[in-house]
């Protein structure tokens, strides 16, 4: 007896091959989804690290520099007048604050600067000289321990020298915050794009799997129904050779699906 079959040849002949192929397709698709997600997450993480290192840290540094120029010096002078610290201590503290300003400014210059930022940075650098000289002058006047001279200086000269750097530091800080906002929005866009890519791939995988499963089951059901019909014919006494051959072929086809 020769089995006649219309089933496809090769790897996809058997049911197990088809199930393995379906599983492999799903597995590969899931890997693609995972890689896309990982890639997207890494880009977002890079973006966040850049925002922190190049924008947030500099904002903190610039704000501290501003505080050191604008507030701390005045507070030190007030503390001397209130007797909370000595004149010598005040002079030492002003020197320390100057050193801290240099340290922060140096650290800021090591961060990544955009071309627009370089222009704003140059404006700060241009005003920094006058502000530094004002602090040096304050330290020198504090050493005289003459309250009247220090008071006059603070009233008449100190903030005139500090004001330009206050303005330019403000502009630079505003730029940093604006840039951080822009980069955050860009990071959020990447996150949304990644979400869309992952969602589309996942949807495609699910739809493809459903279609394949539907095709397989339909073909299996057709073959089974045909086999059942022929089996009923045999049971009813139809022992014609073609029927038996056909029944065996249908059974074989069914097993292959």
């Amino acid at each position: 007896m020769t089995l006649q079959t219309s089933a496809p040849k090769g790897f996809f002949r058997s049911l197990s091959s088809k199930i393995i192929a379906l599983q492999a397709l799903t597995f590969v698709a899931m890997i693609v989804v995972g890689v896309a997600g990982l890639f997207g997450m890494e880009r977002i993480l890079d973006r966040m690290e850049t925002i922190f290192a190049d924008r947030i840290v500099p904002v903190q540094q610039l704000k501290e520099i501003n505080d050191l120029y604008v507030s701390e010096s005045r507070i030190i002078v007030d503390a001397v007048w209130a007797g909370e610290i000595s004149w010598q201590d005040a002079s030492t503290i002003v020197d320390r604050k100057q050193a801290r300003i240099e340290e922060l400014w140096g650290a800021y210059l090591l961060t990544y600067l955009t071309p627009e930022e370089v222009i704003l940075k140059d404006a700060v650098a241009a005003n920094k000289g006058a502000a530094d000289r004002a602090l040096e002058q304050l330290a020198t006047l504090i050493e005289t321990e003459n309250r009247g001279i220090v008071r006059d200086y603070m009233r008449e000269s100190f903030y005139i020298a500090i004001d330009p750097i206050y303005q330019s530091l403000g502009d630079l800080t505003q730029y940093q915050l604006g840039e951080a906002d822009r980069q955050t929005v860009a990071g959020q866009t990447i996150a949304r794009q990644t979400q869309i890519v992952i969602s589309v791939i996942s949807l495609l995988v699910i739809l493809t799997s459903l279609v394949i499963v539907w095709v397989f089951t339909n073909r299996m059901k057709r073959a089974l129904a045909s086999a059942v019909r022929l089996a009923e014919g045999v049971a009813n006494g139809d022992l014609a050779k073609p029927s038996i051959n056909e029944a065996m072929t249908k059974s074989a086809t069914c097993c292959r699906f």
């Binding site: 704000k63 501290e64 501003n66 505080d67 604008v70 507030s71 701390e72 005045r74 507070i75 007030d78 007048w81 209130a82 008071r151 603070m154 009233r155 903030y159 005139i160 500090i162 004001d163 206050y166 403000g170 800080t173």
Partner: protein, 160 residues
Amino acid sequence: MKRDCQIDILTFRLGSEKLAIPAEYLREILEMVPITRVPQSGSFATALINVRGVVVPLTDLRVALRIPHSAATEDTRVLVLDLRNGDEKTTVAVLADQVEEVTIMNTADIGDVPPVGSPWPPEFVLGIGRHRGAFVMFPDLDMIFKTYSAADAVNEKVSA
């Protein structure tokens, strides 16, 4: 103020209360300067001062925060602040009985104003923190100045 981050603050005293504002608002700390009283102005912004050629309104947060008035002393200072609203910058001056320090505070340590028992109008207070064993109140400067500017505008219309 609930996000956990650190902010630079300037602490100062008004009467017996300790207040804090973000240090980034601060432009200058001045000793008491000659002031020009403004006729028919409210008790909040009573005067103008000249900050190197720029006329700036001098305000008293005590009025908004219901803190008892006290006379100026040698420690009294004028805080010149730049309040930013987007790209717009408004320079105002506020009185401080004593300026204390610039320090760092964690925003997680700043809580809401209790609904009961708070001596200050809750709408004008952003929160209350604890610093060096004392309570520090964070006034909502934007709200205070917005409210009192609107009130001044109404008064001006009524006067006209």
